[in-house]
């Protein structure tokens, strides 16, 4: 009978919605947190949640480059924040 097939998300699609939500949450948490270390942790959360979105589209080389560049940028930002100096 026509209409028997319902539009149901595939497994990867559900995962993409999940990691998109985690990425949005990480970006909002980066914006609202006052502590610089919490900001850096939230940026780590954001960069981790972006990776499966890139991998699922097939941009594996972009994911390799991003996963090597993002820790370097975090460590550069870490030079600016020492403990006790917000």
């Amino acid at each position: 009978m026509p209409g028997a097939w319902r539009r149901v998300s595939t497994v990867n699609e559900i995962l993409l919605w999940l990691f998109g939500a985690i990425a949005v949450t990480g970006s909002v948490y980066t914006g609202i947190s006052r502590d610089p270390f919490r900001k850096l942790i939230a940026i780590g959360l954001l960069s981790g949640a972006v990776m499966p979105l890139l991998i699922d589209r097939g941009y594996v080389d972009i994911a390799i480059a991003l996963s090597l560049i993002l820790p370097v940028s975090t460590i550069v930002v870490l030079q600016l924040c020492r403990k006790g100096e917000p």
Binding site: A4, W5, R6, R7, V8, S9, T10, V11, N12, L15, L18, F19, I22, T25, G26, Y29, D35, F37, R38, L40, I41, A42, G44, L45, G48, A49, M51, P52, I55, D56, G58, V60, D61, A63, I64, S67, L68, L70, P71, T74, I75, L78, C81, R82, K83
Partner: protein
């Protein structure tokens, strides 16, 4: 005659993970979700960092399991090394690090 599903659609029963790699993908994504929730809700900053590590390990597993491509393994290794380095750098700076001119044996 078996009716074919439209392109991009799956039947509801197919959502239940059947193959072992899909089960592993679900387990990794559940671990990642737990880590992300604990990172957000943890009140202490220093306690957030182990859960950031948990999240990163789960993401590494998801990268390796999501597509069958040889470069995906390289991406998983690169992300594993990079994220562990990042978390440990944040923890080291937060804990005080080494003083200027200090030499530890």
């Amino acid at each position: 005659m078996v009716q074919q599903a439209p392109r991009g659609c799956l039947e509801v029963e197919e959502l239940i993970p059947a193959s072992p790699d899909q089960v592993a993908l679900w387990v990794c994504s559940l671990v990642a979700l737990y880590g992300a929730v604990r990172v957000i809700t943890e009140p202490d900053t220093l306690r957030k960092l182990p859960f950031l590590n948990v999240f990163s390990f789960a993401i590494s597993g998801i990268i390796a399991l999501m597509i069958p491509h040889p470069l995906a393994l390289v991406a998983a290794v690169a992300y594993f090394v990079g994220s562990t380095f990042e978390s440990n750098a944040i923890a080291s700076v937060y804990a005080g690090g080494m003083e200027k001119g200090e030499h530890r044996e």
